[in-house]
């Protein structure tokens, strides 16, 4: 035993993470000490403030390249880029979460413990202000995501996975209306999420076993060790590949890739819409951030082995997402399948396994996050007496009733369909270009073919909104409060700007596209 060496800690590099986690703790304290009527404002303010502060430090850290806190956290280009992306998208999601003017009390249940469907429940749905616990939960989740994309060893990755997953499970259960669905979503998400993370963890164990016996190194689960082990470990490669597969399963689950996507439609539909938006945008960034790091840094030595498998998964994902989206009748489910298909496109970018693939995937994540947040923002606005009207048939003729919002949503859908001058096009271009360059033309062709299928459901919504006559039951579009309006406009503008002038963000992504090892 040598003497205990304390690892060096660069607090500045960790500042965003620390701020978010700190803010979450502060949120818990606020929950305890601030009077009820002020809580909402204070919590929202604190959370937003924390996000902005964290964002400030992310920007401040630009150019940083180091591994700190004993090899647990890597602060490098991708980390900072993705952390920035998560923070910006999370800020928008917070705006949606904090909206209380569309529906009295916001989208969240006042007391999750009230039995769903009971008299109390009806009362809380009509009158009470929503629970403010959502803010600390959200900030915890954000903090977990920030660690997740920066994690430089598998243990940190596992823990941060849980740190951001557990609050999300809870958030899913907190819908004000249709609580049965909400709770069911939460349970499914939780059980399956835990199941998948168990796979992940077993994968960690196997990889750990694989790293033993490398000349000049001790066994461990940090990526540098794994990378070295892939190159020359004396252990059985079965451990490596089984471990790698199980790790991939855990991450692909979060990324909603087929066949690990099964939770997505149910959870997206059942969860409160702002939470769905948060998951669709930020979880995706976090999951792919981790995937990128694992496969680009730790396992890059065996790229030849995992690309065919993951490529098949990518194709399956695109296909499942696209084909199943065709017959969906609920807008949130439809967006869920769209999100699955997009996971497939992102995987294409990941599998390019080159610098362009890295930057393209990161670009795609940001662009998609903005669009999907805007899309769900519109979903929160289309309501009738029972809350959100998510069944597609109810959207008929929406374009006549509220042309402005219908136009915004149409624009978002065109972006999803990959029409040029939207970020949907530029981002697809980025990943497909990288994939062809990386020699993965087959994935691009699959991507193109599934895009054709996927265009149909989007177009069906457009047809519904514009070309169908409004029916008696066409819901109204609520006038959005300032928060939702802000989130929506930011999302739409970003979709447009990234479609018309993607240059600056591309530069940023290109500049960031190098992992520290």
């Amino acid at each position: 035993m040598t003497e205990l060496k304390l690892p060096s800690i660069d607090y500045a590099a960790l500042a965003p993470i620390l701020i978010m986690l700190g803010a979450a703790l502060v949120g818990v304290l606020i929950e305890a000490f601030v009077p009820r009527r002020l809580r909402h404002a204070v919590q929202l303010g604190a959370a937003l403030l924390a996000v902005l502060a964290a964002l400030y430090f992310v920007v401040d850290n630009a150019g940083e390249r180091q591994i700190t806190i004993g090899g647990a956290i890597a602060v490098d280009g991708p980390t900072l880029f993705l952390q920035g992306a998560i923070l910006v998208l999370a800020a928008m999601a917070l705006l949606l979460i904090g909206e209380r003017s569309i529906e009295r009390g916001g989208a969240f249940v006042a007391q999750a413990a009230v039995v769903a469907g009971s008299e109390d429940d009806r009362r809380q749905a009509e009158e009470s202000g929503g629970a403010t616990e959502v803010y600390p939960l959200t900030t915890f989740a954000i903090g977990g995501m920030l660690i997740f994309v920066a994690a430089n060893d598998l243990l940190t990755m596992f823990i941060s996975l849980e740190v951001f997953s557990l609050p999300l499970y809870l958030l899913c259960a907190l819908a004000r209306r249709r609580r049965l669905l909400s709770q069911e979503a939460a349970m499914k998400y939780f059980l399956l999420g835990a199941y998948a993370s168990a796979f992940f963890l077993f994968g960690v164990a196997l990889v750990y076993g694989f790293t033993s016996g490398i000349p000049g190194r001790t066994a461990g689960v940090d990526f540098a060790t794994i990378h070295a082990a892939v190159a020359d470990s004396p252990s059985s490669p079965v451990l490596l590949y089984a471990g790698m597969a199980l790790l991939a399963i855990g991450l692909l689950f979060k990324a909603a890739a087929a066949p690990f996507h099964v939770w997505t439609p149910d959870v997206y539909q059942g969860a409160p819409t702002p939470v769905t938006a948060f998951m669709a945008a930020c979880t995706k960034v976090a999951a792919f951030g981790a995937l990128l790091r694992v496969f680009y840094v730790a396992f890059s030595g065996s790229a030849w082995n995992f690309t065919p498998v993951l490529g098949t998964v990518a194709i399956l994902t695109m296909l499942v997402g696209a084909v199943l989206a065709v017959t969906q009748t609920d807008i949130k489910r439809l967006l869920a399948y769209s999100s699955i298909a997009n996971a497939g496109y992102l995987l294409v970018g990941v599998l390019a396994l080159n610098k362009e693939g890295l930057s393209g995937t990161m670009f795609y994540l940001v662009a998609y996050g903005f669009s999907v947040l805007a899309a769900f923002a519109v979903v929160t606005l289309v309501r009738d007496a029972d809350g959100e009207a998510t069944h597609l048939s109810r959207w008929a003729g929406l374009g006549r009733r509220s042309p402005f919002f219908a136009a915004l949503f149409t624009f978002i859908l065109l972006a999803f369909a990959g029409i040029p001058l939207t970020s949907g096009f530029t981002s697809k271009f980025a990943v497909f270009g990288a994939a062809i360059e990386g020699g993965q033309s087959w994935l691009v062709i699959a991507g193109v073919l599934t895009s054709m299928i996927l265009a149909f459901p989007y177009l069906r919504v457009v047809v519904m909104m514009w070309l169908s006559e409004p029916g008696e039951s066409t819901p109204t579009v609520s006038v959005p409060g300032g928060l939702t309006a802000a989130a929506l406009m930011i999302g739409v503008l970003a979709t447009l700007v990234l479609g018309v002038a993607p240059g600056p963000l591309l530069d940023l992504a290109n500049g960031a596209a190098e992992f520290v090892r």
Binding site: K428, G433, I436, L449, M452, L459, R460, W466, G503
Partner: protein
Amino acid sequence: MSDFPFLSVLTVAPLVGALVVALLPRSRPQLAKQVAFGWSLAVLVLSVFMWGAFQAGGDRLQFRESYSWIPQWGVNFTFAADGIALVMLMLIAVLVPLVILASWHDAESSKRSVPVYFALLLILESTMIGVFAAADVFLFYVFFEVMLVPMYFLIGSFGGHQRQYAAVKFFLYSLVGGLFMLAAVIGLWVVGGKTFDWQALTQIDMSTGTERWLFLGFFVAFAIKAPFFPFHTWLPDAGGAAPAGAAALLVGVMDKVGTFGILRYCLPLFPEASKWFAPYAIALALIGIIYAALLAVGQNDLKRLVSYTSIAHFGFIGVGIFAFTTQAGTGAVLYMLNHGLATGLLFLVVGMFVARRGSALISDFGGAGKLVPVLAGVFFFAGLASLALPGTAPFISEFLVLIGTYTVNKPVAVIATLGIILAAAYVLWMVQRTTQGTLNPALTQAEGMRRDITLREKVVVAPLIALIVLLGFYPKPVTDVINPAVQATMQDVGKSDPAPTNGGVQEASK
């Protein structure tokens, strides 16, 4: 004057106009129409100046402008026009004001926003100009796709029977083609060393396999757009459902993007593959000529019928392009222009009939010439132009295509010539069932049929008729512009015209 940034201004101007029109209050439809019409006229004037500034026989690509757009990907706003593009731009500039004028009352009947209709028309004009003016493959692709959006809404929101189905089909079908092209565009970009500049891309070398795949990607998109058999079934639906003005632009201009794309992109960028695929492309085109003509005979809907005739005409264009001779190529490009004028006219006149009768079914007409003789006369003239009667512009182009094809491929030319017989059949059969024969009693009941052609309608058809006749007798100004561009394209492909088999007569006798 030639330093003036014609192409970018032409692209942007209608867009600005569209914004202006869209922002006009819904309650002032008249003003919206006037502004839109005036705006399109301004575009026309500018285009005429551009035509004047173009130096036939000068550089292949003129009016070149380039602005950086996405330097990370080597994407530039590069505009440039060769003779082919110039002719198509001119066609757009001429057609759009007339279509706006012809659609004066179209939007009102649909109970939808009038300013939006005209704004969409102007957006469409902008994107169509952009697609022809682009000299950057990425930019071209952008316009190629974005072009769908205004047309989708024109068909879907303002169309007739089955408009939803038609609009979705149009959009999806085109998008499918576009996505194939996207894959090829990306591939080309990677192969070509991360540049989208058209001129740079013509210089690159690639393996035979790559070239063929990329060619296919582009070709499928263009074949759907044009449309060639068997990718044509969207057109009768779209053409049948679209409002007449939009249909005129759809068939008259937008579909030309397909054939233009083949000339501008497939041939110069993938010359070897073009030659390799030429027999197949010609076969498709040839089938299209005969097949679509026969189908046109069997139609009972005027707009669908005209759509089918267009498919047949596109077959001629396709044959002309892939024959790889100067005559056939020039004929094909000229055909693109003339078909735009003739079929544009036909669609607009059909629209006038439909507006009067409230139906596009031929069986709802019959003997209409008795009620609206002048309109029927114009209809007949448009039909004549469509069947390429000498004295009308399409004759020249059809003749050039056939004669140019004959010199290199006799059977193809002979079979294609059968198409001119079928053309006479469908046009005359259409004219007979619509305007001739005993008067359909129901027709006299229709309010609109009591009015013959109005002054507004005369103003719409007169320029088209004049152009068709003028170019039918004196096509030289246009062929002189087209010819160098086509010759350059043929050089790209590495083909030259065959000498007369018993040549030397010309030298000997004159």
